[in-house]
Amino acid sequence: MINIIDVWKGFGSNKVLKGVTLKIEKGQTMVIIGRSGCGKSVLLKHIIGLMKPERGKIEVFDNDITRMNEEGMQTIRKRFGMLFQGAALFDSLNVAENVGFFLFEHTSMKKNEIMRIVSEKLKLVGLSGIEHLMPSDLSGGMKKRVGLARAIAASPEIILYDEPTTGLDPILAANINKLIKELQAKLSLTSIVVTHDMTSAYAIADRMAMIYDGKIIEVGTPEKIRNTNNPIVQQFITGSAEGPIISD
């Protein structure tokens, strides 16, 4: 379904991705872990075509999206949902208009039909009845959840989550994990989740991949990752200060 082949990307002298290769199967949840600033968000933006790699290829639904123009990408993106790390809610629109944005813009659905879907999705993320609020009236965790509702509103086939549980309290985080799992189970969605939260990573992942120094250094089931021999991965998942990863 998604096939990332030897992708390179840098910003000036800052080389971020140095040959990332990763395959994500249909219906799977892939969790991507790695240190802050290692390029997880950048990788997600490549998968949905917001950034173009300097080298390498990204195949989505059997199309090489690195060769597509913006118009072709729009067709592909209609099958995607994305939750941004900073939620990226449209601050001139209220919550309902944010969540229903895709439906308002790209479907001929009636307004009350869209509003019904909007409140259903808001209920899923535990935020019923806030349709009329503006993004500036929301807390950080609420924004994140509205962003999540927006990402799933149009029933996409692939969802990219950039740190869905960061900034949520443990109970909410567990609820969101449950939601991600349910979506995947019921609708056989393909999900890619970037997270720092190892509990949630183990809970939702079918497979996990770790980025380090611009490459995927390990990929496998949560079980395999947990029992890895790679000292870098070990240090990361146990969150220890001692090990091969030097903090700067």
Binding site: R77, K78, F80, A88, F90, D91, H106
Partner: protein, 256 residues
């Protein structure tokens, strides 16, 4: 010396490069604007915003400019005994030059800055990326309605500026200096050439298009958080005003 030449050279290259990118944005705005569907709701919202934000200050400016023009024209004309032409000078200078240019400068200040700030904020908070992930073209969604709203609203505001400014001149000429009402009006109308008025309005359409393209461009290319948005806003206003002044000169040479 070599260093200075190098720096100036670099500036020129960067400037030309930006000019090219702005031209390409303008082209994309026109292409996207021609595609269906047209977002009528945003278009009307933007027209209202331009009107509400700028009409008060445009009115204030034009009444004072009209009064000053009337005052100075009367004093000069009186020396040679031609004070009945006060209205003619006020009307001609407003419709041909001052109305269009001053309105465009005010709109550059108010709408240019808010456009660059709004789009720039959306850029640095990834809202533009979010639009793209939802298969919505940011140029079509954000720039096109603003562009057409500016094209329509600038001439309308300019007509207001012209009329209010002429009224300012009338107040001074007739009420203060006692020129006869009929004469003042008659001489004003005699010197108003419809072609001049239309040329003045054509200018404002071009000013509006350039100003909004520059401001959208500065917004779309903002980077680096709040500070970057601030810079984008300032440079949008400065560049818009400069562009209005330079293009005014060029257009005047072409049109008259």
């Amino acid at each position: 010396m070599g260093y200075l030449v190098e720096r100036i050279g670099k500036k020129i290259i960067v400037g030309l490069d930006e000019l090219g990118r702005m031209a390409s944005l303008l082209q994309q705005i026109i292409v996207q604007g021609a595609k269906k569907p047209f977002n009528a709701k945003h278009f009307v919202q933007q027209m209202v915003k331009i009107g509400v934000d700028t009409l008060p200050i445009v009115s204030l400016m034009s009444i004072f400019v009209g009064m000053v023009l009337g005052y100075l024209a009367y004093l000069q004309f009186k020396i040679v005994g031609l004070e009945m032409y006060t209205g003619s000078l006020v009307a001609a200078s407003l419709t041909m030059e001052l109305g269009p240019v001053l309105t465009a400068i005010i709109v550059s200040g108010r709408i240019g800055s808010s456009t660059a700030a709004e789009i720039g904020t959306m850029k640095v908070t990834e809202q533009i990326d979010a639009l793209r992930t939802m298969a919505t073209d940011p140029i079509k969604y954000l720039a096109v309605p603003r562009f057409y709203a500016a094209l329509i609203m600038l001439p309308i505001l300019t007509v207001f500026a012209d009329i209010i400014g002429m009224f300012g001149g009338y107040m001074i000429g007739v009420w203060k200096f006692g020129i006869r009402h009929q004469i003042y009006i008659q001489k004003s109308i005699d010197f108003l050439d419809p072609i001049d008025i239309i040329n003045g309005l054509v200018k404002t359409i071009i000013f509006g298009g350039l100003m909004i393209t520059i401001s959208c461009y500065k917004g779309f290319t903002a980077s680096g958080g709040a500070e970057g948005v601030g810079q984008a806003t300032t440079s949008a206003v400065v560049l818009s005003i400069m562009t209005v002044l330079v293009s005014d000169y060029l257009l005047t040479m072409i049109l008259y």
